[in-house]
């Protein structure tokens, strides 16, 4: 149990660090959102679940926190992405396609 908890914490923090790296390396806000959201969601889930294995009395609250993060994190990322698009932040120059722009232009 303790070993499993340690492993989960380590994997989780590894993904958190990767998410941070993604935030630095990606070229525009949308790609950064991609890296940030996914990596921090799984990373935080891993760290929280691993901590709960080390201290079983907070397992139930940890499960609730994990569910909340899994529901709320994509919502906030989508909202940021949508406001960035509506606020006129352009896609990175290497982007290949934009269906939404075509739609908005057609209207």
């Amino acid at each position: 149990m303790v070993i499993l908890g340690n492993i989960l914490i380590f994997i989780g923090s590894l993904f958190l660090a990767l998410g941070g790296l993604g935030l630095i390396r990606m070229p525009d806000v949308y790609n950064r959102l991609q890296a940030g959201t996914k990596a921090t969601t799984l990373g935080a889930m891993g760290v929280i679940l691993g901590s709960a294995f080390l201290a079983p009395e907070m397992l139930t609250k940890a499960v609730l926190l994990i569910v909340f993060i899994a529901m709320a994190n994509p919502v906030s990322s989508s909202t940021i992405g949508r406001s960035a698009y509506k606020g006129g932040v352009p896609l990175a120059s290497r982007s290949v396609r934009d269906d939404w722009e075509k739609e908005e232009a057609a209207e």
Binding site: F68, P74, V75, S78, T79, R82, K86
Partner: protein
Amino acid sequence: MRKLIGILLIGGFAFYLVTVGMGLFSAESRSELDSVGSEILATSPDLSGAANTVTAVVVQYRGFDTLGEVTVLFVSALGVGMLAMAIKDGLLKNLFDDNGGFVLQAGSLALLPFIVLVGLYITLHGHLSPGGGFPGGVIIATAVFVVILTSKTLSIPRGLINVMETLAGLGFLAIGFVGLYSPAQSFLANILPKGEFGSLLSAGFIPVIYAIVAIKVASELINIISKLTAADSDSKEAAE
């Protein structure tokens, strides 16, 4: 200028960390600083019956102060309300020129009941774990705020909220006067039974006071928000 502000912020944070770190590591300064704290820690369980000493300080040791804080909040809510009334369309109304997108709309509705549940948990367990009426009320109000952000036509029962706010304020005073006319003969005396230490029904009137504070804080903040965003103006027009 912005760089300067950034450097100042980072420097201030570093200073804070260093001072906190030094305070933690030198035992002497700690015992000097904590003389009031250790006194309260020693007397609090018997006096208030609350497992969370911070709550015991806020409600038991300086409950009259808390009543004052709630009053300050009430007066500021009144002031903001009057300002918002002077500007007919609501100060923030034009900022929300669309509905915020489907994901936020549906997401906030899906999360609202659970966020309110967390707020109620924080409120009801204020005497056992970190939290209490103030953060609980703020959580409930902000959850409602997010729903307002996505829909201007949300009808807020402002009358009901005003009634709740008034009743909560009167309830706080009533508890104070019950203490005054009880055998303890002091305003806001904790006369309810202390219960079993660490369970939900313990610490006498502290959970009751915190529930009242939460209702008051939540209803005042919802009032401010709905006035600022003119959230229910559409429904009011429909009613007229």
